[in-house]
Symmetry: C2
Subunit: 337 residues, 2 copies
């Protein structure tokens, strides 16, 4: 039981050479049918399973992909992972998954591990697109690396959500409701989602002829504690915003708790837009206006892109952008009501 059967055991039991057994296992045609059947019968009877480790040693390919995300318990990443796994496992790939917790050191270490394990490809986020060490480390990978919702200056495969357009739509909608002082909480300028959201926000204000109040923009971190602090400081402003866009993915629960604690009602006291959809946003009361986009779809695209890269096909488009649409719900009210 322990240790497992080897191809030698199969060959021995079938009375053939190791080479012949290997040819049967790999479906080569130039094997006598009777021998083929004999070998396969032995395989079934002793429960032989080829050692992929040994196979990988020869082939150099492991049929393994590493997926590195901030935290796989975040619903959006979980969905991405799920879709990715579905597509890749159908092609015989297995998936290593690990959490970076947005820690550059850990990120480096996980890239080391991925390389040591000789994965065939990597799909990842990064804590900081402008960190030289991280950029260099990615470039030093000898397999395809696909970035998820990151848009660094250097050349690299990437999958993006069009956060800028999404936030622009949301901001425009709030402006059309009469809001002029709109708060924004999101990630910092070192990651694409943070930059893109600030960009879309500023664009909408500019086009409406409104000036940007910099103190209303809190682009610091995806961390829940940070966001909490941002929220509180926004609400404590002399000229408190009448509407709020939470550009981070899974911050809605924390924000709702804080607003409830402060006794602020949505939307009568403050209008609210969440950066991504969720059960809570859809079915809560009030229902929360959201930006809607799908990491699940990106998971499928990521698989396609990666498989193409692994098969040596030239990346037709190395920069895939997925839409973000605005879904108005009852968490936004006209200004002054």
């Amino acid at each position: 039981m322990a240790g497992g059967k080897k191809i030698r055991d199969v060959a021995l039991a079938a009375g053939v050479s190791i080479g012949t057994a290997s040819r049967v296992l790999n479906g080569h045609t130039n094997v006598a049918p009777e021998i083929r059947d004999r070998v396969l019968a032995i395989v079934n009877s002793i429960g032989y399973r080829p050692n992929i480790i040994a196979r990988s040693m020869r082939s150099g390919r492991t049929k393994t992909i590493a997926v590195l995300v901030r935290d796989m318990s975040i619903p959006l990443f979980a969905e991405f992972l799920s879709a990715l796994e579905g597509s890749l496992s159908a092609q015989g790939y297995s998936i290593f998954v690990a959490a970076t917790h947005d820690d550059p050191e850990l990120e480096l270490k996980l890239l080391d591990t991925a390389q040591e394990r000789r994965v065939d490809g990597v799909i990842m986020t990064t804590a900081n697109e402008h960190d030289t060490a991280l950029t260099k480390r990615r470039a030093a990978m000898d397999v395809p690396v696909i970035l998820l919702d990151r848009d660094p200056p250097e050349d690299s495969l990437r999958l993006l959500v069009d956060h800028s357009s999404g936030i622009k739509l949301a901001t425009e909608s709030l402006i059309s409701l009469g809001h002029k002082d709109i708060g924004l909480i999101t990630g910092n300028e070192h990651v694409y989602p943070g930059r893109a959201r600030v960009e879309g926000y500023c664009l909408a204000l500019a086009e409406a002829g409104l000036s940007v109040r910099p103190e209303l923009i809190h682009a610091h971190s995806f961390d829940a504690a940070h966001a909490q602090a941002s929220l509180v400081s926004l609400l404590e402003l002399q000229n408190r915003p009448s509407a709020l866009i939470i550009g981070s993915s899974s911050l809605l629960p924390a924000v709702l708790r804080t607003l409830a604690r402060l006794g602020l009602k949505v939307p009568s006291d403050i209008s609210l837009v969440a950066g991504s959809d969720s059960d809570l946003a859809e079915l809560g009361n009030p229902q929360i206006s959201v930006l809607q986009w799908s990491y699940r779809d990106l998971g499928t695209v990521a698989a396609t892109l990666l498989l193409a890269a692994l098969n040596g096909e030239p990346a037709a488009l190395s920069r895939h952008v997925s839409p973000s649409t605005y879904i108005p719900r009852s968490s936004c009210a006209p200004f002054g009501t």
Copy 2:
């Protein structure tokens, strides 16, 4: 770039033998300090990463664990996975993750893959504890297998949530509010959570001297579509239940949608208890009474249990049971109000 450096390259560049390079890499003490430094310098300069595949071939251990769950995009499983990954990666283990979708065929195939990849251990759910093929296949694994929330008759390591006690508490609470006709929707008798919930439910009724109306128990599947059908048929009953326990983890959104569609208000038209906590249950309106338990905690326990098993320590307790508590919220009202 392609192919990667080998230990031979390091040895050559450092002017030492392969054996010496290996000793340095593995931190053996019997190496001259100056040689050690020279080798490490080369390692850094050429970016050498040991090939774990090759290392595994010799050691027979891969430092790899397979985690097979129904679907990793289900929040509870995602949390389990996250906790597990945290604990295991700290010990140098990597995690293969795959979804079984409660498909026995796929489950078998994934166990094959796990074995082919020579994982050191497996943590999994199973679609059916009483399926002989699945049971045999697990027994044929030559590494430790830990079951998550499954309690099959055969001997095996397992981590369980005490769903029975949890549901009993919830049922008792509803009974104390005057409810006599309480609907229950959960998984079937081939999986532990389904059985345990029905058990707890029946126990509470029996102790209260109430008789069980079998048509109020829908223990069929964790599938959302099935549950939806169960819900509708429960609501169409002549003598419709005045309270409902949804014993499946992530069914709350679907149930709330259906109730809204049918124009039923919670709790005035029907009282509701959800089988697990969530943002929606906690922050929605009304807030939903729930059974509260943590797969995240089980993830940590699973890691501990597995590491012990891998180190050959005798499993002190092979059956870990984690509590489920009842959190009453505003989704339950006295009968008749």
